[in-house]
């Protein structure tokens, strides 16, 4: 999954000559917290956040000439010039790493010197839901496999042979060394034969359990 797949576009931007008041109004109107500032040619000049803007303006309680004057100043007086950016072709996890490392809340997406999108925390959360969530009626299985060549191929071949479609699959590290866990969403309401076949092939199905695993046909965590 690429940044281009999850980024917000078009981007709300302000010109470097816009006033602080105009920048604040843009944040409020669009309910956003990050405002890229562009120069006359549409190139990224810097960025301001809602916090930058609020800190730049004296308290609203002190309504006086100073406040009004400050609001009328151009936004370029408070803009941050060093902006960490990403590219539409970058992987989502790289963008997430960048944001975490620099403790920042957004990444403008730059291609050919132009700002083509923006990625924020909430875009990354949506991506997480898309990657791990449910978008088709399905049962989830967790299977532990040895960390060796061809294990996932062997495992997924069982689904094919059972005629059951896989709607999502991800593999992650197991707490047990030398093993990996596969979380698979399968388009079936009755996974019993599938589970039996996976077990017969020597894999460990961590969940769901079969009724036979439970005492006297009743259920209980086996």
């Amino acid at each position: 999954m690429l940044v281009a797949d999850i980024m917000h576009t078009p981007v709300i931007t302000a010109s470097r000559t816009a006033t602080i008041r105009e920048a604040l109004e843009l944040l409020h109107r669009h309910r956003i917290r990050h405002l890229p500032i562009v120069d006359g040619e549409g190139r990224l000049f810097g960025i301001v956040t809602d916090r930058d803007l609020r800190e730049a303006v004296p308290s609203r309680l002190a309504v006086d000439e100073a406040l009004l004057a400050r609001l009328a100043e151009p936004v370029e007086t408070i803009v941050r010039r060093e902006v960490i950016t990403t590219h539409p072709g970058e992987f989502v996890e790289e963008a997430a790493q960048l944001m975490r490392q620099h403790k920042i809340g957004c990444l403008p997406v730059i291609a050919d010197d132009a700002i083509v999108g923006i990625v924020t925390h909430s875009d990354l959360l949506s991506a997480l839901i898309t990657l791990l969530g449910v978008d088709a009626p399905s049962t989830r299985l967790e299977v532990e496999v040895p960390d060796r060549v061809g294990m996932i191929a062997d495992l997924t071949a069982i689904f094919k042979q059972q005629g059951i479609n896989i709607v999502s699959l991800f593999v992650y590290q197991s707490p047990e060394p030398g093993r990996r866990r596969a979380a698979i969403r399968a388009r079936t309401m009755d996974p019993r034969r599938l589970i039996a076949a996976i077990r017969a092939a020597g894999f460990v199905v961590r969940w769901p359990k079969l009724p036979d695993d439970r005492p006297e046909g009743g259920k209980g965590p086996a």
């Binding site: 009626p137 049962t139 989830r140 309401m189 009755d190 359990k209 005492p215 259920k219 209980g220 965590p221």
Partner: protein, 495 residues
């Protein structure tokens, strides 16, 4: 088979009876925005229900609307048990867990216990219904695919049960476009479906294999639910039980989870179209009622409440508390996902708190409930741990609430249930007994029933309707804690 009561009662009835002053309990509520007639609904790739935006047969009425006459609580109106012998043809193959031959066991147990009077039986009559109510939920092309699949992929041969297509429409003015579509498509331009086409409609999958005549029996199921819907509107205060229905996973353009047509959704859509009522749908199947929820996700006149095993692992994976409806219907979709191995006491306490809050908040005119009984400890497909004590209590709770809040207009449908011999007959016996105002505390399973079925059953049959106490689940405390978090969240939404 008795002649259908419906066949005799086909003259057009007034849409609503003379309405009394609304009781004060209703006047104080905040009224939701007007009905969302004709709005596209999610579920399936092409969003609008059948084809194109459905027509608006009834103009939205200002709130508060007149309500149906209330009935004194517990006055013991009649109930009907809707059944048709052909329903047992709804089965896929011998290894498939869904097998409507379980209805034979239920009827047999009910008869052995002497629980059904002859005048309480009602047979649905497919020749008395055209396909229009079906097409208000399912796409015409999907219905054609089901028909073709049931004929071995060929299109254009006439239906097996005569009169199931194209007869004079009863709901005047409603869905004319959809009816035209049906006339035009199958008969003049037969379009064959390849196996891949059918797979795109969810047909021929591991869960919904193709079998001969699948359209006819699935349509019969829909007619059963429609018959019940019409019965409870024609007989104020009476209840209807249709154990062949409740196939809540079907989507407008896709078969899913053993379900071909969504009879519950078709019945609810019919209630909206014809009577303009507010419907509370209650789904106690162990699996999330995803099809019904999706079909009415933007419909504010329908509240759905589904209590089910969490979808973290179990099919269909949806039914999270955050699924609450969209647009004008936001807040009318309620989901209560429970931990695996939840037991009776916890389940019932949660269900009661949620349902009371839902009735208080929504004030339905009609209750449609889905009584899947696959949350039982013996059920092979799920991980909830109920006993038949819960299946005695669930209908009682719904019955009381339907009488108190909805004038007794209650349609109870079947649903899942894959321990065919031990669970389904006993659980649905409790349901019918409750609806028929002959509630059972417990009873011995009659010898005549055991004699007939024990030799066919792979397991020893229980001797009493009520399960003896099961050994407690080891992690009970942790399960309770997690369920309590879910309950708290759901109740916050319903405030």
């Amino acid at each position: 088979m008795r002649p259908s009561e419906d066949a005799g009662a086909r003259e057009t009835r007034p849409l609503r009876p003379p309405s009394p002053e609304p009781p004060s309990s209703r006047s104080g509520r905040t009224d939701p925005p007007g009905p969302n007639v004709g709005a596209p609904e999610p579920g399936g790739k092409a969003a609008p229900g059948p084809d194109g935006p459905p027509p608006a047969p009834f103009s939205p009425k200002p709130w508060p609307r007149p309500i149906w006459p209330a009935r004194p609580v517990g006055s013991g109106g009649r109930a009907v048990l809707i059944h048709h012998p052909d329903l047992i043809r709804y089965r896929f193959h011998d290894e498939h867990p869904f097998d409507q031959r379980r209805l034979l066991l239920v009827l047999d147990l009910l008869e052995a216990l002497g629980l059904v009077a002859p005048e309480e039986r009602l047979a649905p009559d497919p020749s008395a219904w055209d396909e229009e109510p079906l097409l208000r939920v399912h796409g015409a092309r999907y219905v054609e695919a089901v028909k073709a699949a049931g004929r071995g992929g060929r299109a254009g041969t006439p239906p097996l049960i005569p009169g199931t297509a194209g007869e004079g429409t009863e709901m005047a003015g409603a869905g004319d476009a959809a009816v035209d579509e049906v006339e035009a498509e199958p008969h003049t331009a037969p379009a064959p479906f390849s196996a891949d086409d059918l797979l795109d409609y969810g047909l021929g999958t591991e869960d919904v294999p193709i079998f001969p005549g699948m359209h006819e029996v699935a349509f019969l199921t829909v007619v059963g639910a429609l018959t019940g819907a019409r019965y409870i509107m024609d007989h104020p205060g009476h209840h209807a039980v249709f154990l062949g229905g409740g196939l809540h996973h079907a989507f407008p353009h896709k078969a899913s989870g053993f379900c071909i047509y969504n009879d519950a959704a078709v019945a609810i859509r019919y209630l909206l179209d014809r009577y303009d009522v507010r419907v509370l749908y209650i789904d106690t199947d162990a699996h999330h009622g995803d099809g019904v929820q999706a079909i009415f996700y933007r419909e504010p006149r329908v509240m759905t409440v589904s209590i089910h095993e969490t979808g973290r692992y179990l099919f269909p994976g949806t039914g999270h508390v955050t699924e609450r409806g969209e647009g004008p219907a936001f807040g009318t979709k309620v989901n209560v996902p429970l931990e695996p191995f939840t037991e009776d006491d916890d389940y019932l306490a949660i269900l009661e708190r949620v349902l009371v809050a839902a009735f208080e908040r929504f004030r339905p005119d009609v209750v449609v409930s889905q009584h899947g009984v696959d949350a039982h400890r013996y059920d092979p497909l799920t991980h909830l741990a109920l006993s038949t004590r819960a299946y005695r209590a669930i209908p009682r709770l719904i019955h009381t609430l339907a009488d108190t809040y909805a004038g007794g207009r209650w349609l109870a449908l079947g649903g899942g249930g894959y321990d065919l011999f031990r669970v389904v007959p006993r659980a649905w016996t409790f349901l019918w007994a409750e609806a028929a105002h002959r509630p059972l505390v417990d009873a011995e399973v009659p010898a005549v029933f055991l004699d007939r079925w024990q030799k066919k059953a792979p397991v020893p049959l229980p001797r009493r309707l009520l399960d003896p106490p099961f050994p407690p689940i080891p992690r009970r405390k942790a399960i309770r804690e997690k369920n309590a978090v879910v309950l708290k969240r759901v109740l916050e939404f319903l405030r």
